[in-house]
């Protein structure tokens, strides 16, 4: 099983998905992320997919679900670095990721969290 490292930095969880994951690995990642976020009470969670070439409907659904789940934990979920080929594929598939907050880069996502989102007490 591929384990995706999840880093904690300035009240934020950051993970970068760089290799293609099986459905089981995606689910394991999702549950690890939620556990860690529950423990650490973060401002936000950022997932960077800037090296990922395929986001299929399964992965897209997990990202959508994560948005709601992380929100229920009181944090903000941000997705960064969706490649142009991936975004056009998702739209043509009919998977809009409408409720997912996205940024061009990890840098921008992190900036947004640090400046726009209030730290929790």
């Amino acid at each position: 099983m591929t384990i995706i490292p999840i880093l904690y930095l300035k009240s934020t969880l950051i993970a970068s998905i760089q290799t293609e994951l099986t459905d089981e690995e995606v689910l394991l990642f999702q549950s690890n992320l939620l556990k860690k976020n529950h423990k650490l009470n973060t401002k936000g969670v950022i997932i960077d997919v800037s090296t990922l070439d395929v986001i299929d409907s399964y992965m897209a659904k997990v990202l959508k679900d994560l948005t709601s789940m992380v929100k229920l934990q009181g944090s903000v979920f941000l997705l960064s670095g969706v490649k142009p080929a991936v975004s056009s594929t998702l739209v043509d598939m009919g998977m809009m990721l409408n409720n997912v907050e996205t940024f061009l880069s990890l840098d921008q996502a992190f900036d947004y969290l640090s400046t726009k989102v209030q730290a929790k007490k």
């Binding site: 395929v54 986001i55 409907s57 659904k61 490649k83 080929a85 594929t89 009919g94 998977m95």
Partner: protein
């Protein structure tokens, strides 16, 4: 469509577990890359393969994904043939409708895959489902 031509490359990926979905779509990407399809087309082809091979695991247990590359005077054509011996698609026309799912899926797999490739054709009966998707590219 490719009647009478023998493929220049053919490969075969058995689909038995979710790991094989990843293998199949990577193979599709690789082939599209080899024949100089654009990044966008590589991703679209790989994503369509992902959807169709996942349907095998969901609805038919096991199957296979076969790749064929044909080159004629003007075009490179890559075909992925996704085959299973499960119950068959009861109503292929309905299955191609956006949002139709016999289970609790989003019903985007088949119609979505069709929009990602040049051509998609379905042959299905109990015991044999065969879906062919092709992408085509002008030779340089």
């Amino acid at each position: 469509m490719m009647n009478g031509m023998s493929p220049e490359v053919s490969e075969h990926v058995p689909i038995c577990s979710t790991k094989d979905i990843v293998t199949a779509r990577q193979k599709g990407r690789e082939l599209a890359h080899c024949f100089k399809f654009s990044k966008g087309e590589q991703t679209r082809f790989a994503t369509a393969i992902s959807e169709l091979t996942r349907n095998i695991l969901t609805y038919a247990d096991t199957g296979s994904c076969q790749f064929y590359v044909y080159t004629d005077k003007n075009y490179h054509t890559i075909m992925a043939k996704i085959i299973d011996h499960g119950p068959g698609i009861e109503n292929p026309k309905l299955a191609m409708t956006d949002g139709y799912s016999s289970g609790n899926g989003l019903g985007l797999g088949l119609p979505g895959a069709k929009r990602l490739v040049h051509e998609l054709s379905i042959k299905s009966e109990p015991g044999l489902t065969q879906i062919e998707i092709t992408i085509r590219q002008k030779k340089y």
